[in-house]
């Protein structure tokens, strides 16, 4: 399993594109929004948490189809499915690799983009914390969507139509944590719900993804 994780990480880093692309997209979004809504610091500070969360969501979405598609095409997914490691574990490892190459960099880069968007000083901690808790759910839910569409030739657009509605609860609670934290309100409830969604998704969705992958590989 560790070999698989290392292999996926190495592929993501060296095969070009996948790793940097999501980050670049995140950056471009943070540049485009002020260009679209105007440079007033007050307006930007107001919408910054939401923009950063939506940006993280979309940046995550961008690299989802790579989770399984390449392995499906060259047949290594069939080998992984027949390997002694259960497919559920393979799916979890692949989601983890996706999170390490996409979610984690997004979390690390988000304070810098917060600076561009005049994010209030007290929001930084909450932003990082909520993204840290929420992005694993994005990767796991996304791997389910990727497993659903793995055999399709024009799966990209369909993937976003399937996955984005599933992202709604994570987005709502994540953005709520940041906006409540910024206003100095208590954040216990949305934080717990966000963590709960992540924990539930990490625990249960790999089974659904593995089931779907088996159907697609049949």
């Amino acid at each position: 399993m560790r070999a698989l994780l290392l292999r996926d990480l190495r592929l993501a880093l060296r095969a070009g594109g996948g790793f940097g692309l999501g980050l670049a997209f995140f950056l471009i979004l943070a540049v485009l929004v002020p260009l679209g809504v105007g440079p007033e610091p007050d307006t930007l500070a107001l919408i910054a948490p939401g923009i950063l969360w939506v940006g993280a969501l979309l940046a995550c979405l961008l690299s989802l189809d790579r989770i399984f598609a390449l392995d499906f095409e060259d047949g290594s997914l069939d080998l992984l499915a027949t390997a002694p490691v259960p497919l559920e574990a393979v799916v979890s490892i692949k989601a983890l690799a996706h999170w390490i190459t996409t979610g984690l960099p997004l979390v690390l880069v988000s304070p810098v983009l917060g600076l561009l968007l005049f994010l209030p000083a007290e929001a930084y901690g909450w932003l990082i914390l909520s993204l840290l808790l929420g992005t694993p759910a994005l990767s796991v839910i996304g791997s389910f969507g990727a497993a659903l569409t793995v055999g399709l030739k024009r799966g990209g657009l369909l993937l976003s139509l399937l996955v984005l509605p599933l992202y709604i609860p994570t987005l709502v609670f994540g953005a709520e944590v940041v906006s409540r934290g910024t206003q100095g309100l208590t954040v216990g409830t949305p934080l717990a719900l966000l963590a709960g969604i992540t924990a539930g998704a990490v625990a249960l969705l790999p089974f659904a993804s593995a089931l779907v992958l088996r159907i697609n590989l049949r």
């Binding site: 399709l152 139509l161 509605p165 599933l166 609860p169 719900l193 779907v212 159907i215």
Partner: protein
């Protein structure tokens, strides 16, 4: 009494619905017509809302059926996954477009009603938002059916999507209620005493709700029959080619 599972046999299903479909369809037309005509023309105007209150006879039944259609799809998907009855998968497929239309009717009549009452076509109210989200889930489900060529794979994948989607649709609903306070009133009808709607409205409302239920049933049966025939046609064409 024959077992319910007999209808998992497409032949038996077709034979039964041969006579059942016209009955249900005509019942749907008559009951809906009675409900709507009674509702529109023979109920008094509300003392504050005027005649706009009559939108309720379209709004509530369609909203009800939009949710029930998803629940029916969920049950049918479960039956397909567990017992592998093809009719069940096809019924789930047939229910989705009807559910979308019901959701749209609910949203549009709601907008038309909201304009004079709340002064806005749309508000990011939890009920409205969760309905819009339900609409998105329906779209994803239908798109996945349309995208996959192999019918059994499509049935399997959409059934799993329906199960997972149900969990997330429910979560989204709670998220929406958490996220914003609403303009929309609570449940219009409830079994608890002291309900807020007078019988003058309630009676035609119940009738149009029944009517919409029958419309849904008739459309799903018709859609399932179409799917079964399409499947049979494909099989015949394939056999022709083999020969």
């Amino acid at each position: 009494m024959a077992s319910f599972w007999e209808y998992a046999n497409p032949l038996k299903f077709m034979r039964t619905t041969d006579w059942l479909l016209p009955v249900v369809a005509w019942a749907a037309v008559i009951v809906t017509a009675v409900g709507l005509i009674w509702g529109f023309f023979f109920t008094p105007d509300d003392f504050r809302q005027g005649s706009t209150v009559k939108i309720i006879f379209l709004h509530v039944p369609s909203a009800l059926m939009a949710i029930n259609a998803w629940i029916m799809m969920l049950v049918a998907s479960l039956i397909w996954l567990i017992r592998r009855h093809h009719v069940s998968a096809l019924a789930a497929k047939a229910a989705a477009p009807v559910g979308v239309i019901m959701t749209l009717i609910g949203l549009i009549t709601g907008a038309v009603w909201g304009q004079p009452m709340w002064g806005t076509w749309w508000a990011w109210d939890p009920r409205l938002t969760s309905f819009l989200i339900l609409f998105l889930f329906y779209l994803g489900y239908i798109a996945l059916w349309a995208a996959i060529d192999d019918p059994d794979t499509a049935a399997d994948l959409t059934a799993v999507l329906c199960l997972v989607g149900s969990v997330f649709a429910l979560l989204s609903r709670y998220a929406a209620f958490f996220w914003s306070q609403g303009l929309h009133q609570g449940a219009s009808l409830s079994l608890a005493p002291g309900t807020r709607i007078d019988w003058a409205y309630k009676a035609p409302l119940y009738i149009s709700m029944t009517g919409f239920g029958l419309i849904f049933l008739a459309l799903v049966i018709a859609g399932t029959r179409t799917e079964i025939r399409a499947r049979r046609m494909k099989a015949l064409v394939a056999r022709e080619r083999m020969a």
